[in-house]
């Protein structure tokens, strides 16, 4: 190369590097949302509280969204509730979304004091009293966590005026529960004080929510009281297929060394209850270990999926699939990529990962935008409108991503929505030379869908609730007119 050519090459490299930074697409207030085949229907600011788990429930002719919150932030530990005029620790937001274009904030139910993961009431599940075997037929029950110290059940038949029914307390942590509405069996993610792990499972019969009956404690051998040696990674959350499916899929790990554990539900409920290593091992059918780089946040089962590509095969036309979603926990890509995995568990004792999905980082320069980039969770509704056809993945600063999963061997992204930031959107920081360097970006934490086909996303960085619907070809994939 001649000197001038080298010079030109040097400038080109500098220009490209500079433009890469300039095109980092830092979000600014007032800029429109970014989207493909998804559009905004309505919003609620959720009183600028950090959103965790939304659950949408039909109550008569009303649709109510229950949204769990993390604790407050360093800057605002307890935001003011405009309805009461008081500062309240983050808890549960209850929003009437019957008209999704005009969500109506009904009630904030305060949670445990404490900031970020240490407080709030992050998780929420709903069961109708008439569905539960021994429930009050006029009641609608909300199971929620109360920070790390308790699980609570409230009657939310009048969602604007919840009534506390019962409390399961004395825990050192809680997390993402599962509650079977038809049996009342609940798999509560708890930290029993004498266990060696922060999060394990307490199986309860909550068929009569006023009188919880504990069935057993469950976890991995090595986590139980009195054991020694290495302690297996902690539970994040289970999903049960109930008595008919007779399986519970447990996700362990968050962003590291995770695995999917497949458990025989009947053996779990009816096996010997003493937490010995042998008794803990007994209900396990198989484990699918993940890389040390990834953890299992959500383990979403989709049994009996017909695979079009295999339609003419003599065997294996349908497959039992579990979608495993990792959780990104560090800001600005300071960890291995956390993403989405599909496991074929048709042969249960030989489960195998068959495909994966991530948002292409370069499509939005997401590592430079600020906050977390990576997967966190999927919708968990099994309503027919989307089940086994589409999955929605919350991806922090990349918003929500809509996947066509009809062929889980080849999942395809067909839409996305990244909300605009607002004045309420909180900053996210990384350390640079021992000093905080902060950026403001959307942090889509969780997503849920309802039977009508609306998609609900909530923001960890206090931007609130966004209600979305599919447009264009994405509607066709779901079969929505």
């Amino acid at each position: 190369m001649s000197g001038r050519l080298k010079l030109a090459a040097s400038f080109s490299i500098l220009f490209l590097a500079g433009s890469g930074i300039a095109c980092a697409q830092q979000q600014v207030i007032g800029a429109p949302p970014e989207s493909l085949n998804m559009k905004l229907v309505g919003t609620s600011d959720l009183q600028a509280r950090s959103g965790y788990q939304p659950t949408i429930h039909q109550q008569g002719d009303r649709w109510i969204a229950y949204i769990g919150h993390h604790g407050g932030s360093d800057d605002i530990p307890a935001p003011v509730n405009p309805q009461t005029g008081k500062a309240e620790p983050n808890g549960t937001s209850i929003v009437d979304v019957t008209d999704p274009s005009q969500p109506r904030y009904l009630r904030h139910l305060p949670g445990q004091e404490g900031k970020y993961e240490a407080g709030g009431a992050q998780m929420v599940r709903i069961c109708d009293g008439k569905a539960l075997p021994k429930g009050d037929h006029n009641a609608v029950y909300m199971l929620r966590t109360f920070g790390g110290e308790a699980h609570e059940i409230w009657n939310v038949a009048d969602p604007a005026n919840p009534v506390l029914i019962t409390r399961i307390a004395g825990l050192k942590d809680t997390h993402k529960n599962w509650w079977e509405c038809d049996t009342g069996i609940a798999f509560l993610v708890s930290g029993a004080p004498d266990w060696r792990t922060r999060r394990m499972t307490q199986v309860y019969d909550l068929s009569d929510p006023a009188h919880p009956q504990k069935i057993r404690d469950f976890g991995l051998p090595g986590q139980e009281p009195g054991s020694t040696g290495a302690v297996p990674t902690e539970l994040h959350g289970p999903i049960s297929t109930g008595p008919s499916g007779n399986r519970v899929y447990f996700g362990y790990g968050t962003n590291k060394g995770g695995f999917l554990q497949i458990v025989d539900r009947d053996k779990l409920l009816n096996g010997p209850r003493e937490p010995t290593a042998d008794n803990l091992r007994a209900p396990e059918i198989a484990r699918l270990a993940m890389s040390a780089f990834n953890g299992a946040h959500t383990t979403f089962p989709m049994p009996g999926m017909p695979i079009a590509e295999f339609a003419n095969d003599k065997d294996g036309k349908t497959r039992d699939i579990v979608m495993v979603v990792d959780e990104a926990i560090l800001n600005e890509c300071n960890e291995p990529r956390q993403m989405v995995w599909f496991a074929d568990i048709t042969v249960e004792n030989r489960p195998m990962m068959i495909s994966s999905y991530t948002v292409p980082e370069a499509s939005g320069s997401f590592c430079q935008r600020g906050g977390r980039f990576g997967a966190h969770s999927s919708n968990e509704s099994m309503a027919p409108v989307f089940y086994k056809k589409m999955a929605f993945i919350s991806f922090f600063n990349a918003g929500v991503r809509a996947l066509d999963i009809r062929d889980p061997y080849h999942p395809v992204e067909i839409g996305y929505f990244i909300p605009a930031i607002t004045a309420a959107t909180d900053k996210r920081c990384v350390k640079i030379d021992a000093k905080d360097r902060c950026k403001v970006a959307i942090q889509t934490n969780n997503v849920e869908t309802d039977e009508r086909g609306y998609i609900y996303i909530v923001d960890r960085a206090n931007t609130g609730l966004h209600i979305l619907e599919l447009t264009g070809p994405a509607r066709a994939v779901a079969g929505i007119r």
Binding site: L7, S10, T197, G229, V231, A434
Partner: protein, 184 residues
Amino acid sequence: MRRWPVIVSAIVALGALSGAAAYQHVAPRHHERTGAWQEIAWPFPRDGWPAGKAFRCGATACGGDIEVYVRPKMGFCNCDRGVADDDEVDRVADLDLLSQHFAPLAPGDVVRVADMPGRIRAYDLKMSDSSRHAAIGVAVSRRCDLLVAVVHGKGEASEVRRIALAFLATSEMTRWMTAAIEGR
């Protein structure tokens, strides 16, 4: 025009020099360390956390071989509570890198390392060759990040602990651990 390449090269060279200087500033320097401790290669296979630093102190200086493995673990859910109890030390202190089989010798203690609060606990470690070692697990935190150290040797646990804590308290190690937890 021909001055530009020189200017660009100078900027690059200065950047490289300042980077090297910064590295020199935070990395433990061999010649500064007492002869007792030698840095050795991180001996463990890759796991979920990046490798840390490993050091050995020989029998002459430490009364028996003692090894220390220390590394930051960035991202830890107990941002507010920190290392809350002994179970936390059991879980996070990298004892399982040495052996899956370890049993605590006693309840742990509160400790402060590199100005970070946490806990320290002594263990009986059963190695793969069935030999027994004393091990010390240390876990301290700053906000949402952990710094962990695991130490093992054939001597008495109390002596291994004393020697290891003295080593972790040296200015070189303090400087390195502080830099590591700050992501430098």
